[in-house]
Every structure is written in structure tokens, then in C-alpha cells.
């Protein structure tokens, strides 16, 4: 194992490749990779909270604990449909901007933003009409903290989408070559969507 780790032949090849590559000094764009790493870390928060929820659930003799009021499934179901379909809508924006169609980008982003806002409004409406509060019991606490934490992420995603919309009014800001903001907002939105699917299954269906 002792000795050099540089393979001379490979080093010579790399030397050649580098000689060809030098001459333009542009900074490579690693931002999408960075966003993916960030979202991976972010998903660990949710994973931690999900595991805590599952442990509470496993330890309790009955779940939800005795006396928890019945939950309505209609409104959250509609909300879920809205959020899942918004992921398909936002993808249309991505397709549009890759064809240099900024008008299409604006249209699809606006629709996604609207759907996100409807989701948040529906969430608030549900909070308002639930028969249990934050401190009713352990189920109620986990319910509010998990959905609230997710709602915060939806709100942040909404802000990203509105930010992209705001910037897209500058002519030439987004094009088929430059659309990091669009892709980042879209990735984030998909992430929020996937988290919700897991959350919905855990909190409402199981």
C-alpha cells in the first residue's frame, strides 16, 4: 500500500486535458448540486421528526390516544390533490423556460403559486375547524408541529416561486441557458410535495 497514488499515464492524460481546458476562466456552476445536498440535509429533519412520530405511535397503547376527535378526510384529501398536481404544473414551467418561452414560465409559475396559496389557506382553514388544539394530547401536538413545519416549507417555497416571478419581469433574466432560479424553485417545490405525501400517509391514513 505504501507509495505513490498518482498513476503516471493518467496524470499525463489529465495534464493534456487541462492544457486544453485552460484559457477560459469561467466559474463552474455547482449551485444545483448544492441545492440537492441542501435538500438531502433538509429531508433529514423531516426523517427525524417522522421517526419520533412513529416511536410515539409505537409506544402508545392506542393511537391516536383515547378521546382524540375524528379527523375529517375530505379537505386534506383535496389539499393533497392540489399540492401533488402543482408539482406537474411547475414542471411545465421548467419545460417552457428550456424552450426560451418566458411567457409560459410566468404562466405556469403563477398557477403553481396560486395552488400553493390555496393549499396553505386550506391548511389554515383546517386548523381553525379542528376540535383539538396544540396541547390536547401527544397526537395533537405532533399533528400541529409536523403539518406546521411542513406548512412553513410550503410558505418558503411559495416565496421562492414569487421571487422567480418577480425577477422574470426583467427581459432576458431567464433563458434556456440561464434558469438556475427556476430549477431551484422547482426542485424545492417537488421536495415539499414529496414530504407532504409521506406526512399525509403518516398523519391521516395510518
Amino acid at each position: 500500500m505504501q507509495g505513490s497514488t498518482v498513476d503516471p499515464a493518467q496524470a499525463a492524460l489529465n495534464y493534456h486535458a487541462e492544457a486544453v481546458a485552460t484559457g477560459h476562466e469561467e466559474h463552474p456552476d455547482h449551485r444545483i448540486f448544492g441545492i440537492i445536498v441542501f435538500l438531502a440535509a433538509e429531508s433529514m429533519i423531516f426523517l427525524g421528526l417522522f421517526m419520533a412520530y412513529l416511536t410515539f405511535r409505537a409506544v402508545y397503547p392506542t393511537w391516536p390516544p383515547e378521546g382524540t376527535p375524528e379527523r375529517e378526510l375530505l379537505l386534506p384529501g383535496i389539499n393533497t390533490l392540489i399540492l401533488i398536481s402543482s408539482s406537474f404544473v411547475i414542471h411545465q414551467a421548467d419545460t417552457a423556460v428550456k424552450k426560451d418561452n418566458v411567457g409560459g414560465l410566468r404562466k405556469w409559475f403563477a398557477i403553481t403559486a396560486l395552488m400553493g396559496a390555496v393549499f396553505l389557506a386550506g391548511q389554515l382553514y383546517e386548523y381553525h375547524n379542528l376540535e383539538f388544539g396544540l396541547k390536547t394530547n401527544l397526537y395533537a401536538s405532533t399533528f400541529y408541529v409536523l403539518t406546521g413545519f411542513h406548512g412553513l416549507h410550503v410558505f418558503f417555497g411559495l416565496c421562492l416561486i414569487l421571487g422567480v416571478l418577480w425577477r422574470s419581469r426583467i427581459k432576458g433574466h431567464y433563458s434556456s441557458q440561464h434558469h438556475f432560479g427556476v430549477e431551484a424553485a422547482e426542485l424545492y417545490w417537488h421536495f415539499v410535495d414529496v414530504v407532504w405525501i409521506v406526512l399525509f400517509i403518516l398523519l391521516y391514513l395510518l
Binding site: T5, V6, P8, V37, A41, I45, V59, L134
Partner: protein
């Protein structure tokens, strides 16, 4: 062309320093240069090391006598909580980030980190959180220990605990942002001639560390959010009186905080792997073994957390699992230790401050590692749980390991960071005092723990007094040992001998540029012409050669010759 000729050629190519130079003001502003940020991290972390060290000496002064005659028990709890939290989150972790920030781009031939602004943002989250936490001692500091177990933590004062949670959330976020940067930079920004397997070992260890940060820290954030709800909103996630389960907190906390041990030690494993070959003038022994063992430690580190919870009612089958995984970690760690020893074996060892601290690291860390395997075994752990044996173990790992490693790194890279040499006699005095003080402080704690002295309590049984006095004397020696270091750093930074670009004749890329490096690191991006540790391996890349393990290529004194 021999290696020596090639080295002197790179040296002569940048005698002058063109372009703008760093001003001292840059170090106090939101600067995006990774070298400035690295120094900012290091200086800030050393300031908190001082603060945490003063707290440690206050704790030791209190423990000199069995009675609580120096500080009140509440103050004692606050001191030990802040000491632990500051040393972990504001000293060792930021010091590792500082070294990584300074060294990674230089080592892989990049001009900066992947996301310079986010990098600066990550640093500037530390001072507010740290100052808030340190100042909380003036009004109402947290008292529940650095682990902050509920229900104790939700019963000992909302203000202090709230500050603790808030600071940790900020520090954790900073740590995650830093890790995204390290991860992306190491994977995507190496010079084209550098494959992963020709990367300096420090970069490998930082790759493993950032993976741990990215996986572990968010889970701690989740636990802290739930704890904050318990504390401030009156929920009962972790409060048994409201139907909650405190064990869930312990699981979430240790899912981060055990990997945090590796977050604190892995960067220094990397540092030692850099320093030992340079000052032994020999190729590193087992490059790939050391590189992959970092990844193995990182993976295993994620599946051992419940060994902190052997006395928390963990079921027997789970204890067995965690006992075995914990002991398995000794294997990759042992691989590293053996590789370092084999690298030193027969080398021309230069006994300067950097190398002394590196050798001290290996010795002290092995003691901590062995007591680590001891406490990994369930029956022994149940016996010594919550005693000074655990305190001794963790200080051998974190002081004898991490702190020695950070000092070694400072002595080794000081010429690169400042362009000036350190004063060797002062450095050696510092090393000797640290070594004596450290062993005197923490070695008696093993005995105290085995005799049953509980940790985290200001009062103790008078039979433990003689050993406690020894510990206290040791801690004063450690306090004194900081003086030669401080004098050395300040004096050498201003008046030290000019170092030149490569005072150690090292082969990694950070030494192939000027000292201190120019603002964008390299005038022209470097090309690898040798491996990072090819000491004494004279060759030209175009040559066809016998395999490198053959005896004629080994230095005279090598074990293989």
C-alpha cells in the same frame, strides 16, 4: 527532472506578489475569501477555547474540595453546561471548519470554495450565537448539561434553556451550510489532474465529516424544535407527565451527538495524516486504507448512537447491536493508528512542535480509544455510566485527540497562513506543558470513576479529595500552557522569521503557492506531478518504473527495504 528540481522550479515562479494584498480590516468584515474565513473561524474558535477553558478551571477550582465553597451549585451547573456546549460547538467544530475552509481549496487547487457567500454567511452566524450563549452566564444560563435531557431541561429555567436551544439551532445551521460547501468543493472543484484517489487525506476526512454533518445535524434540529415546543408552548413531547417520552429525545439527540464525536475527530485524523508523512519524510503508509477508513468511520458512526443509552431502559437485543457496532469502529480507527505508526517507522522524524503534537495526538488518542472500547461493553458501561470514567474517556478523545490535533495543525500550517515561522522552543515548551497538564488532569479521573465518583455534581465524598486535587493542579498547568502558545502566535505573526513558500518541503498543493497565498490562491492552476505523499520517491511522470512497493524505491531505513 527530480522532485527537488521540480519543487524549486515551482518556487521560483512566484517570487513576487502581484495583485491586491489582504488588509487587516478584511478579517473583520463579511469577506468571501476562503482563507480569510478560515482564519476568522480559527481565531474565533480559539477565543471560545479560552472562555471554555476559564470555565473549566473554575469547575476544577470548585472541585478541589468536597464542599461547595467556591461557586454555588446552580452556578456550577451553569458552568459545566456552558463549558461543554462552548467547547464542542464553538471551539472544536468551528476550528475544524476553519482548517477545512483554509486548506481544502488550496489542497485541491481551487481558487475558492464552491459557494463563497454562503461560506461567509455560515461563519457570521457563529459570533452572535456564541456571544449570546457565553453572556447568558451573567443573567440565567442553561443548567441541564450539554446533553440537555428532558425533563430536567424543561424544569431548570425557561430563559437559559431557550438561549441554549436558539444558539444551538443557529450553530447547527451554520455547520450544515459549511458542510454543503465542503462536500461540493471536494467533489466538484479539484484540479482536473487530481482524481479522488490522489487527493490529500485531509480532504477525504472532510468528505466523511461533511457527510456526517449533513445527515446528523438536521436530526438534532428536529429534536431541538420539539424541545423548544415543550419548553415554551407547553406541549409534552418529552414530558412524561403529559404522556410524552423523554427517551425519544435521547435517541434524536444522540443520533446527532454521537456522530458529532466523529465530526470533531475526523478532521484532525486528516490533519495528522498530512503532518506525519511531511515531518517523517516518508510516503504515507496505506493511503487507500486511511481514506476508506474515514468513510467507514463515518458510516459506522451513524449506527452506534444508543450506546449512550445503555442505562435508559434500552432493550437487551438493541444493546447488543449497539455494543457490537461500537466495538467495530475500533477497526477502521486502528487501521489509521497503525498506518501512522508505520509511516513514522524508520522515517527521518523532525521533532518540531507540529510533529510533537501529532505524535502526542496518536498516543493520547489511543488511550481514549481503548477506554472507548471499554465503555462500549454493556456491563462495564452500566458500572461506570455517569461517573468520572466517562469524563476521562471523552477528554482523552477530545483533548488528547482533537485539541492536540488542532495545535499540530496550527504549528504545521502557521508558516502558510502568515508567511512566518513559529518559535520552536516556545512551541516545544507549550507541548510539554500541555502533555503533562492533560495527563495530570484526566488520568486520575479514570480511577475516580471506577471508585464511583459521579460526574456533574459540585459536592462529593471526601474520600475522593486527593485525586481531585491532582486533577485541579493539572488543569492549572493546562491554563499556564496557554501562555507560551499565545505569546508564540502573536510574536511569530508579527516578527517571526520569514518562512518562504514551502518551509517543510511538503508535496501537497497548498505548499506550491506563495505564503500567505495570493488572493485567488494560484497564479496558474497547478498540475499534479506527484502524489501528495511521494516523499523520497524520486521519479519523472513519463518514466516506466518498477512497482512502487519494490525495495529499491524505499528509503534506506524503510521497513520494506
Amino acid at each position: 527532472m527530480t522532485q527537488a528540481e521540480a519543487l524549486s522550479e515551482t518556487r521560483s515562479s512566484h517570487d513576487h506578489h502581484p495583485g491586491p494584498q489582504r488588509k487587516w480590516q478584511d478579517y473583520f468584515t463579511f469577506n468571501t475569501d476562503h482563507k480569510v474565513i478560515g482564519i476568522q473561524y480559527l481565531v474565533l474558535s480559539f477565543i471560545f477555547f479560552g472562555i471554555g477553558g476559564i470555565m473549566a478551571d473554575l469547575i476544577r477550582t470548585e472541585l478541589k474540595t468536597p464542599a461547595t465553597d467556591f461557586v454555588s451549585p446552580e452556578m456550577y451547573n451553569q458552568l459545566l453546561t456552558l463549558h461543554g456546549t462552548i467547547m464542542i460547538f464553538l471551539w472544536i467544530i468551528p476550528a475544524g471548519s476553519g482548517l477545512a475552509n483554509y486548506l481544502i481549496p488550496l489542497m485541491i487547487g481551487a481558487r475558492d470554495m464552491a459557494f463563497p457567500k454562503m461560506n461567509a454567511l455560515a461563519f457570521w452566524m457563529l459570533p452572535p450565537a456564541g456571544i449570546l450563549l457565553a453572556l447568558s452566564i451573567l443573567f440565567d444560563a442553561p443548567q441541564a448539561g450539554w446533553t440537555s435531557y428532558p425533563p430536567l431541561s424543561i424544569m431548570t429555567g425557561k430563559v437559559g434553556e431557550g438561549i441554549w436551544i436558539f444558539s444551538l439551532l443557529v450553530l447547527g445551521t451554520s455547520s450544515i451550510l459549511g458542510a454543503i460547501n465542503f462536500f461540493t468543493t471536494i467533489l466538484l472543484m479539484r484540479v482536473p489532474s487530481m482524481p479522488l484517489t490522489a487527493m490529500p487525506l485531509f480532504c477525504w476526512s472532510m468528505l466523511a465529516t461533511s457527510a456526517l454533518i449533513l445527515i446528523g445535524t438536521p436530526v438534532l434540529a428536529g429534536a431541538l424544535i420539539l424541545l423548544a415546543f415543550d419548553l415554551l408552548a407547553g406541549t409534552a413531547f418529552f414530558n412524561p407527565t403529559g404522556g410524552g417520552d423523554p427517551i425519544v429525545y435521547q435517541h434524536m439527540f444522540w443520533f446527532y451527538s454521537h456522530p458529532a464525536v466523529y465530526i470533531m475527530i475526523l478532521p484532525l485524523f486528516g490533519v495528522i495524516s498530512e503532518i506525519i508523512p511531511v515531518h517523517s519524510r516518508k510516503p504515507i503508509f496505506g493511503y487507500l486504507a486511511i481514506a476508506y477508513s474515514s468513510l467507514a468511520i463515518s458510516f459506522l458512526g451513524l449506527i452506534v448512537w444508543a450506546h449512550h443509552m445503555f442505562t435508559s431502559g434500552t432493550p437487551a437485543w438493541l444493546r447488543m447491536f449497539f455494543m457490537i457496532t461500537t466495538m467495530v469502529i475500533a477497526v477502521p480507527t486502528g487501521i489509521k493508528v497503525f498506518s501512522w505508526l508505520a509511516t513514522m517507522w524508520g522515517g527521518k522524524i523532525a521533532l518540531n512542535s507540529a510533529m510533537l503534537f501529532a505524535m502526542g495526538f496518536v498516543g493520547e488518542f489511543v488511550i481514549g480509544g481503548i477506554s472507548g472500547v471499554m465503555v462500549a461493553s454493556v456491563p462495564f458501561d452500566i458500572h461506570v455510566h455517569d461517573t468520572y470514567f466517562v469524563v476521562a474517556h471523552l477528554h482523552y478523545v477530545l483533548f488528547g485527540g482533537s485539541v492536540f490535533g488542532i495545535f499540530a495543525a496550527i504549528y504545521h500550517w502557521f508558516p502558510k497562513m502568515t508567511g512566518r515561522m513559529v518559535n520552536e522552543p516556545l512551541g516545544i515548551v507549550h507541548f510539554i506543558l500541555t502533555l503533562i497538564g492533560m495527563n495530570l488532569t484526566f488520568m486520575p479521573m479514570h480511577a475516580l470513576g471506577l471508585q464511583g465518583m459521579n460526574r456533574r455534581i459540585a459536592l462529593y465524598d471526601p474520600q475522593f479529595q486527593p485525586l481531585n486535587e491532582l486533577c485541579t493542579i493539572g488543569s492549572y498547568i493546562l491554563a499556564v500552557s496557554a501562555l507560551p502558545f499565545l505569546v508564540n502566535m502573536i510574536w511569530s505573526w508579527i516578527k517571526g522569521r520569514e518562512a518562504g513558500d514551502n518551509p517543510w518541503n511538503a508535496l501537497t498543493l497548498e505548499w506550491q503557492t506563495s505564503s500567505p497565498p495570493a488572493i485567488e490562491n494560484f497564479e496558474t492552476l497547478p498540475v499534479l506531478r506527484w502524489g501528495p505523499y511521494d516523499y523520497g520517491v524520486e521519479r519523472i511522470p513519463e518514466d516506466i518504473e518498477p512497482p512502487l512497493t519494490s525495495p529499491e524505491l524505499q528509503p534506506e531505513s524503510s521497513a520494506l527495504s
